[in-house]
Symmetry: C2
Subunit: 200 residues, 2 copies
DNA sequence: TGCTAACAAGTAAGCACTTACATACTTACT
DNA sequence: AGTAAGTATGTAAGTGCTTACTTGTTAGCA
């Protein structure tokens, strides 16, 4: 018999293995057998901890929806009133996090495409709140006459879109980036274009 | 017995039914049975025209990779040397096409996520060539001193990213757009920010 | 009359989930 | 402190349904 773990720790390991597989192959593309093998247990153990494969998937989405790292760090930088700094920080953080662990982006896309019931919650916690944060920042800038008059939400989505698209191209479609275009330089260019574009 | 069609016409109908299903549910999520039902034939008929489900999928990707409408219309507008006009035209065309038929975008994403072998070809024909077109346009503008010095490919991807992200949000994640933000107005705002951002 | 489009009815493999049972750890009683 | 009972963790081996693909046969058209 295999090593005996606490229910909590075993559950954690199942989730860990499942995240990797679901993010790589999607819900439908992942076999419960594979999850069991990756977690080095029998399939029955999965079903002791989760009633169905779908419930395991939902637990993962809920867990991934709960973290707040990006927004927290963005809020810190925002206090400095350095527009270029805010854009650079948000952009870089998004890229750093996604490159360090692409599973979140893939899970988000898979869950939306596969029409999972919690896809909306996932989107709201990960994307919508980021839009709102940047939108509020831009709205303030408009009021304070640093930026010209425009729809702040659309503008915010525009900037986030530049970054997201960069991530899609490189992380999903596997485009290699030439040596001269590091994330820092790309974000710098996006921030520069965008900021010059919204300033008075 | 069912109506008798030419092999060509029957094949076309199978592909038509399969496109709808693959784009909605992905390769793994689509059953050959469903395709047969949607095309109103027996499963065996699919296998008379395509050796495997995968071959049918590949045929669809190849077909969808072959059309050139967007690039052709973009090239026409580009001759006018109206920068804002070019950006608006490219952006609007992307949105119009995707809203009229979201299957292409979904197929592109699904094929990349599911790791289909032809995903690269698909990406190059639909996305990379658009990047290159806009990149060349911007490069010329830089040479002609209308735009400031920058990496034209990164800039091009930035603008495309704004539009792609708009489409992702609305077509994939189902965000409703408020009545005042029509595609025209959104594209106008993106083009305005971007153009002001890259001009000298 | 021969060729090809068409189908009904398989078939073998795959899959999510279950069952019956074994083994380790915890607890409580003497 | 020793140990038996009870409980939680674990597995091996299914079970029945689904699914990609096949086979044997029929029927429309040149």
């Amino acid at each position: 018999m295999k090593e005996r773990l606490s229910a909590q720790e075993r559950r954690r390991r199942i989730v860990e293995a499942a995240v990797e597989l679901f993010s790589r192959k999607g819900f439908r593309g992942t076999r419960t057998r594979e999850i069991a093998e990756a977690a080095d247990i029998s399939e029955a153990m999965i079903y002791r901890h989760f009633a169905t494969k779908r419930e395991l998937y939902s637990a993962i989405i809920e867990a991934k929806s709960a973290t707040e790292e990006l927004l927290a760090s963005a809020a810190t930088v925002a206090q400095r009133k350095d527009d270029a700094g805010v854009l650079r920080a948000v952009g870089l953080k998004m890229i750093e996090q996604t490159e360090a662990d692409p599973s979140l982006m893939r899970l988000l896309l898979f869950s939306a495409l596969e029409g999972h019931e919690l896809s909306d919650i996932f989107f709201e916690s990960r994307v919508k709140r980021l839009h709102e944060f940047l939108s509020n920042y831009i709205r303030k800038g408009i009021k304070e006459k640093r930026f010209r008059s425009m729809d702040p939400l659309i503008a915010a989505r525009g900037f986030i879109g530049m970054i997201v698209h960069y991530l899609l191209i490189h992380e999903l479609f596997g485009v290699k980036r030439p040596p001269r275009s590091s994330p820092e330089e790309v974000v710098e260019q996006f921030a520069s274009i965008f900021l010059k574009g919204i300033e008075r």
